[in-house]
Symmetry: C2
Subunit: 404 residues, 2 copies
């Protein structure tokens, strides 16, 4: 049997519920007889290499519950992507501290980190159980119905577009909202769940799963504007041309990349401004406004799905149970069962790591600028309870006297 010391860390971008998973690991591990210590590494794998560990066995359950309900990574995160030498450093530290179980809460890149660490441990003959606990607002992990963090971010996007639509109806014009999502359009597509009445926006949704053609975009906006006198558009930051070049990068001189080779798309309003300038100049529409939702959509304090909270907790509890009783490494996946219930499974790391799920064709309308009923049925239960609703006057018109 492996060592009774476990280590948990958080990687990648924070979410509204990532600390539910942290609390899930710690509280589940603390109730197990064979667990002697529950360590947390500060700032992900970087904290392992630096031996920046905290003893989570000395944290109160009450505070763990309060931290669980707080968004963003309580242990801190990192964008480091370990290569072979980096992993050898990790082993040295884990060995020195006699860590037997490693739980890493993160997304695509983090699952790849877990895979590398797991493989390096096997090569080195070191008895280490590695389990990846899923988390990403992008919803782009393969093998999962959806990923913790996505439902809460989707709820933010749906509420934001519901409000933007009301604003736009009040002071008509064109509104462009840019949503996170490099390759997968799930989060942008969530904008559709902000609609209620037939003429509500977003009227157009542009996803990275479809090639973005500026001329077609302008024609689409023009058609909606002529029909409704206004137009609300949801755009993924990851939209690209036929060659695959991101529209956002076509206009910026310097391109910033992180350790994973990802180009910076968020934290700049350039894409929204470009699209608004095109609409103003080419269509001659005066009132055109663009917002980039940026970090608000993943970190806003006070917008969370209770379904997401529950599942982020459970996925971590299951990770500890799989590790303790299952005897193999893997990545925990959420599987949908019924309408609406979930089960959890442990997938092979190699089946998840480094792979990217994008929106299934059945979720995207034939026009390519809307979602299908299948997507609405898929997303609705994830948004949780207490979704705010919008109501309209049902006015009785008064006869004109002067302008009959």
């Amino acid at each position: 049997m492996s060592s009774g010391k476990i280590l948990v860390a958080q990687g990648g971008g924070p979410t509204a519920v990532i600390n539910q998973s942290l609390a899930g690991v710690v509280l589940e591990a603390r109730r197990m007889q064979q667990v002697t210590r529950v360590y947390g590494a500060l700032h992900g794998v970087r904290g392992i290499v630096d031996e920046d560990f905290v003893d989570l066995g000395q944290e109160t359950s009450a505070n763990l519950e309060l931290v669980a309900a707080t968004p963003s990574s309580a242990l801190g995160s990192t964008r480091d992507k370990p290569d072979i030498p980096y992993c050898q450093e990790i082993f040295k530290v884990l060995q020195a501290h006699e860590i037997g179980h490693f739980f890493y809460i993160g997304g695509n890149d983090s699952s790849d980190t877990v895979r590398i660490v797991s493989e390096e441990a096997a090569k080195a003959g070191y008895a280490l159980r590695c389990v990846h606990i899923p988390k990403t607002i992008d919803n782009d992990l393969v093998g999962s119905d959806h990923t913790p963090g996505f439902p809460s971010a989707a709820r933010f996007v749906a509420q934001a577009f519901a409000g933007a639509n009301l604003d736009n109806a009040s002071l008509p014009g064109v509104y462009v909202g840019v949503v996170m999502g490099r390759h997968a359009g799930f989060l942008t597509a969530a904008a559709a769940l902000g609609r209620k009445f037939p003429d509500d926006g977003p009227h157009l949704i542009y996803l990275p799963e479809r090639v973005f053609v500026l001329e077609q975009f302008l024609a689409d906006v023009k058609a909606v504007y002529e029909r409704y006198g206004r137009c609300v558009v949801a755009v993924s930051e990851g939209i690209h041309d036929a060659s695959g070049a991101a529209i956002a990068t076509l206009l910026s001189k310097e391109v910033e990349r992180d350790a994973h080779g990802n180009v910076q798309l968020s934290g700049t309003g350039a894409l929204a401004d470009l699209l608004c300038d095109e609409i103003k100049s080419k269509l001659g529409i005066k009132r055109v406004r663009g917002d980039t939702f940026g970090y608000l959509q993943r970190s806003f304090l006070g917008c969370v799905s209770d379904v997401d909270q529950r599942e982020a907790r459970e996925v971590a509890e299951k990770a500890v149970q799989f590790a303790m009783w299952g005897g193999r490494d893997g990545s925990v996946a959420i599987q949908r069962s019924g309408d609406y219930a979930v089960n959890y499974a442990l997938l092979a790391l190699s089946d998840v790591a480094g792979k990217t799920r994008v929106m299934e064709d059945e979720f995207i309308s034939a026009s390519g600028t809307d979602v299908t009923d299948a997507f609405r049925l898929y997303l609705r239960p994830l948004l949780g309870s207490g979704m705010p609703d919008a109501f309209r006057l049902r006015p009785a018109r008064v006869d004109k006297i002067l302008n009959k």
Copy 2:
């Protein structure tokens, strides 16, 4: 006695609670014996000129309550600013429909519209009671402790910065959030209410009440970054240099103005991008991210202060009562009484219209980049109940073994 027909309209930018005021006028007027008709004009004064009236007496109370809880102007809004000929058109229409009371829900510009309409009515010898019902997220009306709409927008800003601070603590770097507010910094200052722990951001707050000097800004960011390894900054879109020129317009070639001569500041990410570029290039900090809160802060569906809701309703009820029993035109103001309670007063239109309140000096710290305790005491009760809270781990460090 004036006619028993009343007309209500909504002007300017929508807020989270402007429909509370609409419902307040309608429900209060409907219970008064002398009121025979309650009309609403669609899209503000534009709808008056166009005779686009709806009979709100034919709307159910249940739906009025649901609309009250929905953000953005249910009747639609306008940016039109009536001049003399425009007002003469308004009179013709009001006279033809025998309107005796005109209630206009709006901000600075709308109060000026009410003043002009009131004066033109007096000149024309037309018996019209005109009451301005305050509404603006900018909180810039003189004579009021605060204005309906501001508390809910302030709550959004405080929650947004509380979340952005957690995100920034997890993945350290510099974060710049740009907040609405052309001349008054109240909404930007609300970012300070997102802080809890001593090292929480926003660490720096830049208000339009103080001259913005780029070199000093960079020195401030550098000092915070060196102290905490990170920096969260709140910036008003209205920051300007010593000559009064908006920093946001210094870099844009074309400047868009509305009918009131206001330059477009929102709906573009240019200011945040400019500041981030300066920080990257001048301070050599790599991870720098900027968000422009844009329309989210005034229209997000699901972030509202219950105190704001109640007061927006009351201010409209009082407007109807003042109009029916007071016999003079005016603008309704909220006056603070105790800690925390409010009274309502009817101010002369000329004392409010066209004037802009800015943050009092006692609300701004000596450094010019923070608020005072007086401001925190001023704002806290307005944010309402159920503010989300953020919690941290209180970690027990584990001794290092390899890196002793």
